[in-house]
Structures are given as C-alpha cells and as structure tokens.
C-alpha cells in the first residue's frame, strides 16, 4: 500500500500495465499485483489534464456489444476508448439478432469476422463473456454478465476508495443490499478481499446467497451491526420486482431495515463514505439527502473514475496482446 500512496503524489506510474491474460473476464483469480497496477495506472490517467494527448491506440478497433441496457457503463467504455484514440463501434443487441433467433456463437463469429481488437460485452447470462473468449480471437472485457461479475466496476470502486482514503488494506467495507443478484457485489468481494480489506455483506436473508462466507466475507442480516464502524458503505440497487412480496414484503419495509439513513450511518465510522454503482432508487436503498451529500457520497466520483479505470484496462489489454504476439 505504501507504493499506492507514493504514486498518488508522484504519479510516475506512466507505462502501460501488462496482464497475465488477454481478457478481463472476472476479478476472481486475478493477482493482487495486477489489480494494484491497474488501479495505479488508472490513478495516473485520472490525474491527467483532460486535454492531454493520450491517443496511443490509433487504428485500434473496439466493439461495445451490449445485450442488456446500459447507459453509464457503455458511455464510460466509449469515452475511455476514444480518449486512447481507438475507434469505437456501439452495438446494441437487445432487440436485434437475438430476436431473429441467431445463436450467441453465430453473433460472436460474425463480429469476429470483422476483426476487432477488443470486444466489450455485457450479457444477461452469467459466464457469457467466457464463451466469447473461447470462440473469438480478440480480447474480451466483461462489462457485466448476469449475476456473475462486473470487474471494471470493482476496479473503479477501488480507485475511488483509494483516492479518497489512500489505501484499501484493513478498511472495513460494508456491501449492502441485493447481494444474491448482484455482479457488482461479487466482483467487489473478490477484489476487496484480495486487497486485504475487511468485507461485510449486509442483506435480507432472502437476498443473501448460499455459503457467501466461504468467499471470505462476514455476513449480516442486521444492517446496524453490519455497518458498525464501517469506513465505506457500498449500496446496491434493488430491482423493483423484488420489493413486491417476493424477496421483500414492501418498499417501505425494505427501507426501514436495509435503507441507508442518517440513523444507521451514525453507527459507521464518522468519516465513512457512501458508494453506489447506480442507478439509485432514492428512498429505497438510500435516503435521498445522503445520496446528495457531497462530503460523504462518492457516487459521482465513481462515475468519473470509471473512465480512467477503463482506459488503464483497454491500454493494458492492448499492451498484453502485443507482448503475447511478440513472444
């Protein structure tokens, strides 16, 4: 962590990161050093003047393939790729070839035939990016797959925390909400535990996945206990259809027990910060006033850091691929 702190001031970390894989599919299985390098490099990008020329990937073709709705992630990836000088093509496949009955692999091989350098894929099914990685020649970034992982979100969350607090190791971080259906939660659990943070998961028992403690976290169904002394409170979005007598009796009951309000937050570390991957349900998982409290809420910083993190990843994958080819 000393290295991280040093870099914040000096930002000398000015060369691309080399990864052990051509793809970024999941945080689970990544080395601590890789995560650290990506965050440091992203920190460097975040510190740059927005008009600094970072266009090192001229002619690099990025396909942004989204099988699920997304605004912030898609735009963030596009901006990151463009700031690196790459050519970006956005493809929304929510209503397109899928509806025509084309299989995922046919879609993949069609896209492959266009010889992209990088495919950024979001898909509603867990594990789908792995399938792409098996059948395509280009690099793949997982931009969120089902309930599995959302690795770039975890990296940008880590960068956000690191820039605010200075370090990750030993921090008490409470992830609260619909853990069972959250890919953000899984990626954050893997990343933060790898980096040595103390991760707690807070959820109603109906949304707590089986044997979660085996992933190295502490599980709480009482939010007050779960966020006691926490340095970071990370909230997750609860889907509307899960509040109507399915996993939860009602919206107001959820807010009473699992929504973040002043009273619950008072139990956390006085300097605790609030995070949310968005989009938020104000008044469900978070009191509206807290979401807008610029002293405590890092929600907008998260979005901002997204671009820097994705720049470091895209650059790293290009660098890694070149290295592999030269070898």
């Amino acid at each position: 962590m000393n290295k991280l702190k040093k870099n914040k001031n000096e930002s000398y970390y000015s060369s691309p990161v080399k990864l052990s894989s051509n793809h970024l599919l999941a945080i689970e299985g990544m080395e601590k050093s890789e995560i650290q390098d990506l965050i440091e490099r992203a920190d460097y990008f975040a510190n740059l003047d927005r008009h600094t020329n970072t266009k090192v990937l001229q002619g690099y073709v990025v396909l942004n393939v989204f099988f699920e709705n997304s605004t912030r992630t898609r735009v963030s990836f596009e901006l990151a790729a463009r700031r690196l000088g790459a050519e970006v093509i956005n493809i929304s496949l929510i209503n397109s070839s899928i509806k025509k009955g084309e299989s995922l692999l046919d879609t993949a091989s069609t896209l492959n035939a266009m010889r992209p350098d990088l495919l950024i894929v979001r898909h509603p099914h867990s594990g789908a990016p792995l399938l792409f990685a098996d059948y395509l020649n280009c690099s793949i970034i997982n931009a969120g797959d089902g309930r599995h992982e959302h690795p770039t979100q975890a990296l940008l969350d880590a960068l956000t925390i690191k820039r605010r607090v200075g370090y990750l190791e030993g921090l008490k971080i409470s992830i609260c909400g619909d853990i069972a259906n959250s890919r953000v939660a899984r990626s954050n659990i893997h990343l933060l535990t790898t980096m040595g943070a103390e991760v707690r998961c807070v959820a109603p028992s109906t949304l707590m996945p089986s044997n979660l403690q085996n992933l190295g976290v502490k599980c709480f169904t009482n939010m007050k206990m779960g966020i006691k002394d926490a340095d970071v409170v990370m909230l997750l979005r609860l889907q509307n259809e899960r509040m109507t007598g399915t996993e939860n009796p009602s919206e107001r009951e959820y807010f009473k027990f699992f929504g973040l309000d002043e009273a619950k937050l008072a139990l956390a570390n006085p300097n605790a910060v609030i995070m949310h991957p968005g989009p938020m349900n104000r008044g469900v998982e978070i009191a509206s006033a807290l979401a807008d409290d610029t002293n405590r809420s890092l929600i907008k910083t998260q979005v901002e850091m997204g671009v820097a993190v994705r720049m470091s990843i895209i650059e790293a994958l290009n660098h890694t691929k070149n290295k592999v080819m030269k070898n």
Binding site: E28, S103, L104, L105, H123, P124, H125, S126, G127, A128, L130, L131, D145, G146, R147, H148, E149, R183, R186, P209, S210, N211, L212, N214, L215, E241, R242, G245, T246, E247
Partner: protein, 441 residues
C-alpha cells in the same frame, strides 16, 4: 442348425450367483449349454460351428437401461443401435418426447416400430398424466395392456399430491410401478408463477454463489420423496425414484425400505462420478437435471449403491445437440448423453474397489428387471440368449469426438473396460474387431 461357441469364457450370472470359466454354446435364440467342454455337447460334424476363443473375457446378461430420453432430433432406431453397441440389450424410454407417449395406440405403435431382432429391445414408460399440467390421469390400464411397464411424467415431477395418490392407488391395482423425477418445482424455480423470479440452474451452494448461477436447494428432491413415500404407504404402491442425487433422499429411502415399503430408486453415473465443482468453468455438458450435487451427496450415492439402498444404475441418457449446449450456461439445454458410458462408468466402481463385478452387473441387469417387474435375465440353459461379452480391463479413454451421442460429461476420462460383443436373441447385434479376430478357424 448353427452353433456359436464361446470357449473358456468367464460366465457371470448374478441371478444364480454363477461365476466360473466355462464353454457356452448358443443355438438359435437360446443358450444351448453352459459346460466345461463344448465338445461333449456339440458332436455332429455336419453342423456349422463358430467358435470364439474367449479366454480372458467375461460374459454377462445384456444390460437393462431403465431411463433413456429420446430427444427431438434423435431417431429411435439409431439409439437402439448405439445402445446395442454399448451392451444395452433392453432399454426403457421416457414418455415426454414428441408426441407424448400418453395413450395406448402410441405405445402399441412404438412397440411395433421398434421391434427388430438385432436391435436393443424397447420398453416404454407411459405418461402418468395426459397433459403437462399433471392433473388428469392417463389411461394407464390400457397402456399397460399395450406393454407400458411403468408410469411417469419423465423429467417433470408429478406435483399434485391428490393426483399422485390416485395414480399410485390405480397403478398398484394393475401392479405397475410409478416412477418419479423428484423435484419440488416451486423451490427449483421451474414453476413459472409470477412471484418466483428464478429458474434454477445448478445445485445451490458456494459454487452457485461464485458463478452467479441460480441455485436449486438439494431439499427440493427429498421434499417430494418424503411426500411420495407417505403416499406409497397409504396406497401400497410400488414407487421408484429416478436418478436420485442427494444424501437426504437416500436416507429417507433407506428407512422406507427398512419398514418394508415397496420403494426403490436408481441413480446415474454423473451422480456417483462427479460433483458440482465440475461446473466451475461453466461447461454446459454438466448442466443436468437433477443438478450435480456437492461431494457429500456423491459419497452418499456411493454408500447407497454399496448397501443396496440404490437398486439400479441407469444411463439417464438425454443427448443434446451442440447448438443447444454451445450457449451461455443459463440458456443452454439440460441433459447429457449416457448410453455410451453407462457400462464403462459402472465398471469404474469395480476398478475403484467400491463394489465387485457381480454387484455392478446386478445393478445393470437383474435389479432394474426386478424394479420394473420384468423377467430377470439369466445365463442358463434354455434361457434367451441376450448377453454381452466384455474385457473388463481394456484400457481406454472416453473421447467425445469418437462418441456418437453428445455431450458426455466424462470427456477425456481414463477408464478400463470395453464391450466386445452384444448378442440379442442369440444373434450378433454388435461385434468388435477384437472379438472377430478370436474366431477359431
């Protein structure tokens, strides 16, 4: 008259516990003799005799596979042929194919259509209920007369307790078993009510949490088994649980057997040879129903096989096209091929010293016959000559590229054993080159 002589073969006959090296003489469709020296039985020079030198090989009754799904794209005759090549001389097909096997005329039709003296014999489970909702009892008496040997809703559980009670009661009257796929569909998320929001994909536990796949709790199986056992007690029915996969269900069946209920069960090779960790790479060949369970459940299946709680091993063959499997896990089809690996994987239990060869063969022959109230196959004089010849120690590797059905969950697995010949009605249904080379000229 043509005689086939298998010289110096190890004859394994579980029904009579006979296990000795003998000469076996086959004539027409029957076993003519099992003796120490065939020359004492076959003397006339003008008769044509084919003599195979079977030294080192083993002979057993042909296998009975009590659970085979014929898929939409599969051809029954092709499956019969593949089954014969793999030692299966008799198989039972499930009713949930297209069209559904839910009336006597279709049972009769398939019976006739599948009759071929050189192919695996086809037996049929009739659909227990007329429709997919599982609410109306089918004409199980009439189907039974046409040859349906048991009743089931295939890969769907018979869900409604009253329907199940009536089915059991009625089936007991005509002395046919009810075969259940035990799964509480509400718990596993297969019941498409608007409030469930889930669609179970694999066993619930740490692995499902890591993979972000929706878990099916293992109690979804035992809940149905426990209910059904109470109904079996009430009705006196013969009740059979197919592809049992959890420790809890096996314990419940063990207790039911102890108090003398007519309750039986089978399992399939994936449930004693694999566990849920196979799914860690999202490999859809392991997407099965019931799902692969945790290691403790696998060990319980093995214990159940050893102590006789589990009566039989079936292939649970449910081949799927590559197209429906080359999908993200959630979208991929459920099931895997089995008829080509049933014998080899069961033999693996012998090589691992979990059971002896006699027990293994029993699980694949007389035990399923017993459950289904079929005539027990036996290698004795004047019995029908349905049998297999195999080399139990032949080293081999299961290879998907060579198999005719897919996907196999056992790809690249090292195994020992090979079917060299399958005889159905005394005729060669399949013969391997190794055995052909053993003909004494």
């Amino acid at each position: 008259m043509t005689f086939t002589v298998l010289k110096s073969i190890k004859v394994l006959n579980p029904k009579t516990y006979f296990n000795d090296i003998s000469d076996v003489v086959i004539c027409n469709n029957k076993i003519f003799s099992i003796c120490k020296d065939f020359k004492t039985e076959v003397t006339q020079q003008d008769r044509q005799i084919n003599i195979y030198d079977c030294n080192g090989l083993t002979m057993s009754p042909g296998l009975i596979d009590m659970r085979v799904n014929i898929g939409k794209t599969e051809n029954l005759m092709a499956i019969q042929k593949i089954a014969a090549e793999n030692g299966i001389t008799s198989m039972v097909i499930l009713p949930n194919q297209t069209p559904k096997l839910n009336n006597p005329s279709i049972i009769d039709h398939i019976k006739r259509q599948s009759e071929n003296p050189n192919l695996t014999k086809v037996n049929i489970y009739g659909a227990a209920t007329k429709d997919d909702h599982g609410l109306e009892m089918s004409e199980i008496g009439l189907m039974s007369e046409m040859g349906a040997i048991g009743f089931t809703n295939g890969n769907k559980s018979i869900k409604n307790s009253l329907v199940m009670r009536r089915l059991m009661s009625y089936a007991a009257m005509i002395n046919r078993p009810i075969i259940q796929h035990a799964e509480d569909e509400d718990l596993s998320g297969l019941n498409k009510a608007s409030t469930t929001l889930i669609n179970g994909e694999m066993n619930e536990g740490e692995i499902s949490t890591r993979l972000g796949l929706i878990g099916i709790p293992s109690c979804a199986e035992v809940i149905i088994v426990e209910r059904d056992i109470r109904l079996a007690k009430l009705t006196g029915a013969s009740y059979h649980v197919a592809h049992i996969s959890t420790r809890d269900s096996i314990n419940v069946i063990r207790e039911a057997k102890k108090i003398g209920l007519k309750v039986t069960c089978d399992t399939a090779p994936p449930y004693f040879a694999l566990n849920e960790t196979s799914l860690l790479s999202y490999n859809t060949a392991f997407k099965l129903s019931p799902p692969l369970r945790k290691e403790d459940d696998r060990l319980a299946v093995i214990e159940g096989i050893q102590d006789g709680t589990i009566d039989a091993i079936a292939s649970d063959h449910r081949a799927r096209s590559k197209d429906t499997k080359a999908q993200p896990f959630s979208a991929a089809s459920v099931g895997a091929s089995g008829i080509e690996t049933l014998f080899l994987m069961t033999l693996e239990l012998v090589h691992k010293k979990i059971i002896d060869l006699n027990k293994a063969i029993s699980l694949l022959t007389i035990n399923p016959a017993n459950v289904l109230k079929m005539k027990k196959p036996s290698l004795e004089k004047n019995e029908l000559a349905d049998f297999i010849i195999f080399d139990e120690n032949y080293p081999d590797v299961i290879n998907q590229n060579i198999l005719k059905t897919s996907p196999t969950p056992f790809d690249r697995r090292k195994i020992k054993g090979k079917i060299l010949g399958t005889f159905i009605n005394g005729q060669v249904a399949h013969i391997n080159q190794i055995l052909k080379d053993k003909i004494i000229k």
